[in-house]
Amino acid sequence: MAGSTDIKNRIKGIQDTKKITNAMYLISSTKLRRAKKSMEDIEPYFYGMQSLMQRMMRHFPETEHPYLKTNDDRPESEMIHGFLVVTADKGLAGSYNINVLKETGKLMEKKASRLYVVGEAGRRFFDQRKIPIEENFTYTAQNPTRARARVITNTFLKDFEDGKIHDLTVVFTAMKNSLETETRVMKLMPLEKDLSVKDVPADVMREEFIIHPSPKEVLGAIIPSYVAGLVYSALVESYCCEQNSRMQAMSAANDSADEIVQELKIKYNRKRQAGITQEITEVSAGARSGRI
């Protein structure tokens, strides 16, 4: 009965793998919950900053700031596009990484671009295809923190100021609803100047603000935090999606492991039964021949 031990080994192997996928499922679900919590904590700050920013734009639309400069006067051939690509550190998360990378590939076609890649999976992908990415930009996608978002933001804000990039687009994954995820493309730099001017009717009485010390200084203080907030939310959102995708992938793996084990068990039992039947036949045949 050589076949039945093989089957038994396979069943054991699959059950061991299932233990791992099951553990990964549980880990992802706790991580997802924690990431969602930190997302909720930052919300009041982020929305407040956003409305303050809008207010500033509304009251002082003429304020000059390097981050607000548009690229209208720059021909497309001279543009260097920056891309911030958010991927996971590892695979095993369904199509999570591939979707982001595919979208990035589509965007950067035939363009002078500079890539800022978050996550090991994305870095490996571009390395294999010999596409140069920004060096020294080695940030992990694990447990996104505000400090990391800050550092990431400072990196590309500096490149933006130095003219190494002329705009910046973030490619990340967001939750469409609690089950589905989708790849999103967000234009980050330069900042949109007319954020919400159109929403305000012309005859609305507006408070007059004293700006201390000057609109430019205030904007200078708000903008980095505001942009860092946007980057942070993109990181957290992606992280949530990564965990979500991994949960789904792992629960699918669990299900198919169950299915395979079920099939193998039936096979094994059949084989065992066949062996027993054969033995009985042999014994009874032997007994009969002895009687004669």
Binding site: P44, G48, I211
Partner: protein, 138 residues
């Protein structure tokens, strides 16, 4: 007669630090301290890393270490957005002391302007934390 109060919210990325009434709030601005009293004129101002004091309705002063940010007051509501906000009892003095040492060490080395500024900001944060941790408000 009870004094006039204003609404005050201090918000950091870690959540809402304080949300309630106040009799006055003193914050570190670019050119020294600045106080908002209830019914202050509409104003937006920049805040730097330093100590922030606010007086609650029971006339007690509270102190907090805050990071840079913006303060806005309108219609007797004051919203303060800062990078971090910590109460004296929540400050980890050992960590702040270690950060202070690290920052002074880095400032002594010759580095790019950017790195110098980063260490300078770290130094300011550490000093503020240490100062606030040892302090009773008034």
């Amino acid at each position: 007669m009870s004094k006039k109060t204003g609404a005050l919210r201090i918000i950091s990325p870690d959540g809402i630090f304080y949300d309630g009434r106040m009799l006055g709030v003193i914050m570190p601005s670019l050119d020294g301290q600045l106080e908002f009293l209830p019914c202050h004129e509409e104003m937006i101002t920049v805040i730097i890393t330093g100590e922030l004091k606010y007086q609650t309705e029971d006339e007690k002063w509270h102190v907090a270490a805050v990071g840079g940010g913006v303060a806005e007051t309108a219609n007797n509501r004051c919203d303060i957005y800062v990078d971090f906000a910590e109460r004296p009892e929540d400050i980890d003095k050992n960590r702040a002391r270690a950060a202070l040492e690290r920052a002074t060490e880095q400032m002594r080395q010759k580095k790019s302007i950017e790195e110098y500024k980063i260490s300078q900001a770290a130094l300011a944060r550490a000093l503020t934390r240490l100062r606030v941790a040892d302090r009773d408000p008034f």
